[in-house]
């Protein structure tokens, strides 16, 4: 079990975070850049010292500022995957993986390093320097290096951010496999909620130095605790004022006009959230999908088609995004400047207090 409580000032930001990660579990610390995510990893690894706090791994205390304990990074032995991998430019892949195996007999070091490269399918690159490796290959060598000394904790800093979109999917599979096989606590940092949901057993959303919500990815998406979490997890956030409506529903009068309906009970200023893929678009005046409680007449601002999906920017007049198939976008003749009905169910509208 890894436990960390950290408090420190980072320029304008005051970081105050408490985390615990069980062996074999992956906690994804997700948040926008500048939220203090990397500082948490550095403090756990011993690369930076917070003003106050404790870090303990199993029954070893690594840091206790009040008691004057600060174990240096080399004695903590965290497996650390750096954001741009930080592979040593002067060493071959094999030497790089063997770097952390000092103190073992030479033959054993080589065998272990080679086994590490084989595990990630890069044994053919053993003699290459990082300069000639692709991004995906570097990630594999860096993972092999971090795992070779059998660390007691695994720390991953934006493990996929340095990769282009083509290699990212394959690298994410490699990483997910490695994390599933790891029996140690793993702390992963990312600015991408989808990546956190994919790789983390639990996700802690961090904003401005504080964890604002923690739970499984499904829990966070289903009931975001704040408009920030909803927005960060990819939802559309509309602000307005809630009041009881007909049939036990809640009506939200949106700022700038329009009313949306939710099953959640709330009164006063709220943020209404809905995911873009829950919104369908219909021609004005259509009776399609009559059961849906939310029917908002909106203006089309933009239409972006990627791989068979169309992302439609709307003004309600608050900004709103819908994701529909490219085929239906074409059938509806969606184009900037046009007007359509945005339709979704009351159950898809979640309310959080503002």
């Amino acid at each position: 079990m890894l436990r960390a409580e950290l408090r420190t000032r980072l320029g304008e930001l005051s970081l105050d975070v408490a985390l615990s990660v069980a062996p074999g579990e992956t906690l994804a610390l997700a948040g926008p850049s500048g939220a203090g995510k990397t500082s948490v990893l550095r403090a756990v690894a011993g690369l930076a010292r917070p003003a106050a706090g404790r870090v303990a791994c199993g029954d070893e205390t690594w840091l206790d500022v009040a008691a004057g304990i600060d174990v240096p990074p080399e004695a903590r032995g965290c497996g650390y995957l750096f954001q741009d991998y930080a592979l040593f430019g002067h060493l071959s892949a094999l030497e790089t993986v063997a770097f952390g195996l000092r103190g073992r007999p030479r033959a054993q070091r080589r065998a272990r390093a080679r086994a590490g490269l084989e595990r990630f399918g890069v044994e053919a690159l053993a003699d290459r320097r990082p300069a000639v490796l692709s991004g995906g290959e570097r990630q594999r060598v860096a993972l092999a290096r971090a795992l070779a000394p059998e660390p007691s904790v695994l720390l991953l800093d934006e493990p996929l951010a340095a990769l282009d979109t083509r290699t990212r999917a394959a690298a994410a599979r490699t990483l997910a496999g490695a994390l599933a096989a790891a029996s140690v606590p793993t702390l992963l940092v990312t600015h991408d909620f989808a990546e956190a949901a994919l790789l983390g057993d639990r996700v802690a959303v961090i904003d401005a130095g504080r964890v604002v919500q923690e739970g499984t990815p499904a829990e966070l998406a289903a009931s975001p605790a704040s408009a920030f979490v909803a927005d960060f997890s990819g939802a559309v956030v509309l602000t307005g004022r809630a009041r009881p409506g007909a049939g036990g529903l809640t009506d939200v009068a949106l700022e700038g006009g329009g009313v949306v309906t939710s099953l959640d009970r709330h009164e006063g200023p709220v943020a209404a959230t809905v995911y873009p893929w829950e919104i369908t678009l219909a021609p004005l005046g259509s009776r399609a999908d009559d059961s849906a409680q939310n029917r908002l007449e909106v203006g089309i601002v933009s239409v972006t088609t990627i791989a068979g999906r169309a992302r439609v920017g709307l003004a309600a007049p608050q900004p709103l995004v819908a994701e529909v198939t490219a085929a239906s976008a074409e059938r509806l003749g969606l184009a900037p400047g046009g007007r359509v009905l945005a339709v979704w169910k009351a159950a898809a509208t979640r309310l959080v207090a503002r």
Partner: protein, 268 residues
């Protein structure tokens, strides 16, 4: 491309040509005026051979001292920030702009018999003035900043994440320095070593002022050249050719031995 700005590239080319010709011409002239036979002959002369041996020995010792002490000092300057760091860096570069004669006077005032630390030097039973050890001291003084500057920028160019990665992999600060920082900075360190060695081989003023010019004891090749210049110009010319050849061979050996284009100067 060749519009009305067509004169610009030719102008740059002309500037480079003039620069190259001016800087290379004297070196060419030394060899043009000296036959290989004369160079060999000048080495056969005992005084010249002694001067060459003394130059090689003293510069080798001076460079060893500079590397052993200067490398850790440069690493500290490059990787830690502390109060007064900029002042320290400037002070270390001072010998670069000091006229060699002034450097010699300064060394006398500091380490000479009546100098600031003259008593301590005498108590240690070390003779510097008019002694071979004094030559080494003068060489270290004038050549060290060349190495320190290069080493500092080479260490500063090492990605700090490499050093941190090394720490998380179980290497302490000293092991990280030895196993990551030095190999990563090797190109820049070698370039600094070559520059410092070249400067030490050519050292004249500070050595003359501080250690004097005694054959076989303090008379290095540059001093021997000056010694002959008045009486035996051809001999001085031949010895100059030897010094150019030795300097060039040393730089080439350092550069080739490193294999990473040391004089390119880049650390990575």
């Amino acid at each position: 491309m060749t519009g009305r700005h067509g004169w610009f590239i030719p102008a740059l080319t002309a500037a480079l040509t003039v620069t190259l010709a001016f800087l290379v011409l004297p070196v060419v002239a030394i060899f043009a005026d000296t036959s290989p036979g004369r160079i060999a002959g000048s080495l056969g002369d005992g005084a010249s051979a002694a001067a060459l041996r003394l130059s090689l020995e003293t510069t080798a010792i001076a460079i060893a001292v500079i590397v052993v002490v200067g490398t850790p000092a440069a690493y500290l300057l490059a990787t830690r920030s502390f109060r007064g760091r900029a002042a320290v860096v400037t002070l270390l570069e001072l010998p670069l702009v000091l006229p060699p004669a002034v450097a010699g006077i300064g060394l006398l005032a500091a380490l000479g018999p009546r100098g600031l630390l003259g008593g301590a030097v005498a108590d240690a039973h070390v003779q510097l003035v008019l002694a071979t050890a004094g030559v080494v001291v003068a060489l270290v003084f004038v050549a060290a900043p060349f190495y320190l500057r290069q080493a500092q920028s080479a260490f500063a160019a090492v990605d700090p994440a490499w050093l941190e990665a090394s720490r998380t992999l179980g290497a302490g600060p000293a092991a990280t320095w030895w196993r990551v920082a030095i190999p990563a900075a090797r190109g820049g360190l070698t370039a600094g070593l070559a520059l410092a060695w070249g400067r030490a081989l050519g050292e004249f003023g500070a050595t003359l002022m501080f250690a004097g010019s005694f054959r076989g004891i303090t008379q290095t090749v540059p001093l021997a050249i000056y010694d002959r210049f008045a009486t035996d110009f051809d001999g001085a010319l031949a010895l100059s050719a030897v010094l150019v050849a030795v300097s060039f061979a040393l730089l080439a050996a350092v550069k080739l031995g490193d294999g990473s284009g040391a004089l390119g100067g880049a650390a990575r």
